[in-house]
Amino acid sequence: MKKRDQQPLGNLCAGNLGVDPAAETPDAMELAAWFDGRLAAAQSERVEAQLVANTALRQALLHANRAEPSPLTAWECVRAQALVTPAAVPTAIPRWRYWLDKLLQPVPVWAMAIVLALCGFYLGSGLGAAPHQREAQLLAQILGGLPSL
C-alpha cells in the first residue's frame, strides 16, 4: 500500500493512534525481552504502546536490531580493555576503614609542614633571633674587633 492510501485517514504518524503509552519507558532488559519474544502478553502490550508513542525510541531500536557486527579497531580495543585492569578494579572496603583513611589522609601533609617549619626555625636560629637582633650582634662583633682610640 502506498503513502497515498493513508490520506483519507489523515496524518496517522502524528498521534498515538488512540493507544495510551505506558507511564514509564521500559528499561533495556524489558525491551530486549520484547525483541526476543519472551514477554507475557500484558507486558508486551505495554512495550508496544510505548513504541507506538515514542518514535525516536522505536527507530533507534529498529536500526540497532538490524545492525551487522562491525569489528573493533586496534585502538578501540585497547581503550576498552584498559577500563578494567587489576589496579582499576575498586575493592569494597568496610565503612570504618573508609572513614579512617579519610581521617589519616592529611596526617603526612601536616607532618611535612611541621618538619619544614622546624627546619626553618633551626636555620634561622630560633624564634627569638629576629633579623635586626642578628644585625646588632654582627655590628657589636665588628666594633669589638676595632682598636680603641
Partner: protein, 183 residues
C-alpha cells in the same frame, strides 16, 4: 575470538581483566555495529570510537552495575547489548549541540533550489482511545510511518507475514469504521 554466549559474565562483573578482555573482543563488534548504524545516517560516523567507549564505560561504571542487571532468562545477551548500544547512541546524539550555519556562508550548491510548494500536512487524526490494540497500532506505525515492509515487520514482531497483513487489515477496517462510517 571468543563467542559472546560463552563469556562468563560473573567473572567479568568480579573485575577479572582476562574475562573483560574476552568480553570486549566478543561484545565489541555487536556494540560498534549498533552504534555505527545510528551514527552514520546522522552524519556522525566519526564519533563511533567515542560512543563505543561511552558504552563500555556505562557497562563498567559503579562496579558493573548495568552489566549485573542483565538476566539471561529474559533475553539474549546480543539483543540486550543492541538495546544498550542504541540507548547510549541516542543519548550521545541528543547531547550534541545544534549546528547553526549562516545561509550567507553556505556554498551555492547547498542552498535550496526553490521554496517547497505549500503542502501542509493533514491534521492529526483523532482516534478514540482503545480503538486499536497496541500491536495493531505498532504495525501501522512500522508500515506507514517508518516505511518498513511486511516481511521486516513480521521479522521484528516474530510473527508470520500473513499475520501482519491481517493485523493491518483489521486496524484499517476499524479506523475506517470509526472515522468514515460503514459506507
Amino acid at each position: 575470538m571468543p563467542e559472546l554466549e560463552t563469556i562468563s559474565l560473573a567473572r567479568v562483573c568480579r573485575g577479572d581483566p582476562a574475562a573483560w578482555r574476552d568480553f570486549v573482543d566478543a561484545a565489541g563488534p555487536v556494540l560498534r555495529g549498533a552504534a555505527q548504524r545510528l551514527l552514520v545516517p546522522a552524519g556522525r560516523g566519526d564519533d563511533v570510537a567515542e560512543v563505543l567507549q561511552e558504552i563500555f564505560l556505562r557497562l563498567v561504571r559503579n562496579e558493573f552495575r548495568l552489566l549485573k542487571r542483565y538476566d539471561p532468562q529474559r533475553a539474549k545477551l546480543r539483543t540486550w547489548l543492541g538495546v544498550i548500544a542504541a540507548s547510549a547512541t541516542v543519548d550521545w546524539l541528543r547531547r550534541l549541540p545544534p549546528v547553526h550555519e549562516a545561509l550567507s556562508e553556505l556554498p551555492e550548491y547547498r542552498l535550496p533550489a526553490a521554496p517547497a510548494p505549500a503542502d501542509p500536512d493533514p491534521p492529526p487524526v483523532e482516534i478514540p482511545a482503545g480503538l486499536l490494540s497496541a500491536r495493531q497500532a505498532l504495525v501501522l506505525k512500522l508500515l506507514y510511518c517508518d516505511d518498513r515492509d511486511v516481511s521486516e515487520v513480521a521479522g521484528l514482531l516474530r510473527i508470520e507475514p500473513q499475520t501482519v497483513r491481517s493485523l493491518r487489515h483489521k486496524a484499517i477496517s476499524r479506523l475506517r469504521k470509526a472515522l468514515i462510517g460503514d459506507a
